[in-house]
Symmetry: C2
Subunit: 302 residues, 2 copies
DNA sequence: AAGTGACCATTGATTTATCCAATTGATTGT
DNA sequence: ACAATCAATTGGATAAATCAATGGTCACTT
């Protein structure tokens, strides 16, 4: 059985006339006759009653035509589906962002993206790097914003990345801290400093640990935070110091908070932020445009 | 696009694995791969995301699969429809009967038919010969019970007939009539008799007219009846005599009615009753069996 | 780091299905 | 009787589907 065969039968029902039905289907009359006959043989029942001057459908034929019309309607819907998906910047797009970036980056880029690509329906997912990568590989998420490079431990073949920007780290300290008023510092300045970090799983923890190791500072293992905001509260309370990515700063002028964010002299420690997606995903073009918007919105910041 | 292609795509969705999907469809893996690819090219969108370790569907692919499943369900319904129609003695059957036969024949055959072929759903139509033939030719009715032979005036090609029985005519007269007590009569006995007949359109009128012409009797043109029952009332009132087909007799013993039905000596005038149907109708077998039942139920009567 | 197994894509040959132009056969209307 | 109409048939050309064998990529193992 063939979709075309069903179209032929439906045309016969519409016109009650083989030649007209054939014309309507843009085939020759013998073709249509043969295909209808073939369909009858396939089903094992007579569908059309052909007397020399009249063409009519048998009861089975009428039933078949009803279903055939329904099936053809579905097929037509399938044919038209791609039209709605022609624009790569339309439809649902699941975007995953790490927790140390999401609350600070997303407010800056969501509105510009919606403005630039109104047909795009963003679904936001906030999770740590590994769960995000798992979702990405399973196809439950389309694209991620995370810190590069990707962890190398797992099977991550077929992933592609687009670098977005470098995000410098700041030293976050209480205003009473010995470095609080410095215009800038170097890694040497925090040698021996006890620093609080995020708990396991956050990529920011690993990156900060790398910096600490290079600077010769130590982790304050008693004060591991579950989020950057918790970490900020700890600093605000004067308990500890920490490394804070630039986008996560609040109140850069120090209004109303005893926290001071001290930059490093170049080359500042930093992390690389980038887009990650499956190379097999057909919307690569879409991700490139997304990267453009994000870079544009963060250019002045980093 | 092909029904088979949709099956392939649905199988890919079911198994997320080309080889398994191909096995399930009883085709080779390259075949399935090629057909899915062809479908994607036809629709102009990517439906399946193939990375070496994972197969998943794109958003469009998922939408397509939903419709494809619906379409395939309809197609499956089409494939299974003939099973319900395999028995020619099942399903709806529209039966047309002429008014001078229907009220007297149908009560005798309906129950036996329903008993013998319970799956048969009879739709009864009572109309005069010409309207019935029109319905038959248009396919709105499957089979007729009429008096043969068919009128030759029209395009009635492709019709076939099955003779059922010969129905003799009786002379119906008031008990006060000069012939009321005769065991039998001949055509000579009604020479010059004034007879009432049915109005135009009833085939019985033409047949009776033929008899009258042969017998030398005359029509009482002032008393044309619209139905046999009206005719019977006229006779009951003693106004006139008429010819009545055997099945239309009431109270053969004359109980409670002043009407007497007098038979003719053989060869009695009679009409031939038969089945008529389109030769192109696939249920010829069904009509033969129907004829058997009808003959069986009327054998003792005629 | 090379080997192995799993998996989808490609290739080339073969079978199958679809289609058309021309013709036939049957019926209708003039 | 003759032309017109309509579906079925025939025969040959074209396109499509299919398979077996092979290739290429990735992940996991030794």
């Amino acid at each position: 059985m063939n979709i075309r065969d069903l179209e032929y039968l439906v045309a016969v029902d519409d016109f009650r006339h083989f030649r007209k039905a054939a014309d309507h289907c843009f085939v020759s009359q013998p073709t249509l006759s043969a295909q209808v006959k073939k369909l009858e043989e396939y089903l094992g029942v007579q569908l059309v009653e052909r007397s020399s001057r009249k063409v009519m459908l048998t009861p089975v034929g009428r039933e078949v035509v009803i279903r055939a019309r329904a099936a053809l309607a579905e097929v037509q819907a399938i044919r038209e589906l791609p039209k709605h998906y022609l624009d790569p910047m339309s439809g649902a797009l699941s975007l995953g962002v790490i927790p140390t970036l999401a609350p600070y980056l997303l407010p800056r880029i969501i509105q510009p993206i919606k403005k630039r690509y109104p047909a795009l329906q963003l679904r936001l997912v906030e999770a740590m790097t590994l769960p995000l990568l798992e979702r990405l590989m399973e196809g439950r998420t389309d694209v991620l914003i995370l810190a590069l490079p990707l962890p190398s431990e797992q099977q991550l073949s077929g992933l592609e990345t687009i670098p977005l920007f470098h995000e410098p780290f700041y030293l976050a300290v209480h205003e009473s801290h010995r470095l609080a008023s410095r215009k800038w510092i170097t890694l040497d300045d925090i040698s021996g400093e006890k620093m609080s970090l995020l708990e396991d799983g956050h990529c920011l923890r690993e990156q900060a640990l790398d910096v600490c190791q290079a600077a010769g500072s130590l982790e304050n293992a008693d004060l591991r935070a579950t989020s950057l905001e918790t970490l900020r509260y700890m600093v605000e309370a004067g308990e500890t110091a920490t490394l804070m990515p630039k986008l996560a700063r609040h109140d850069e002028n120090g209004n109303g908070t005893p926290i001071r964010y001290v930059p490093f002299r170049k080359p500042s420690p930093e992390r690389q932020i980038g887009l990650v997606f499956r190379g097999s995903n057909a919307r690569t073009e879409c991700f490139g445009k997304l990267a453009q918007v994000i870079r544009q919105q963060t250019r002045k910041l980093v």
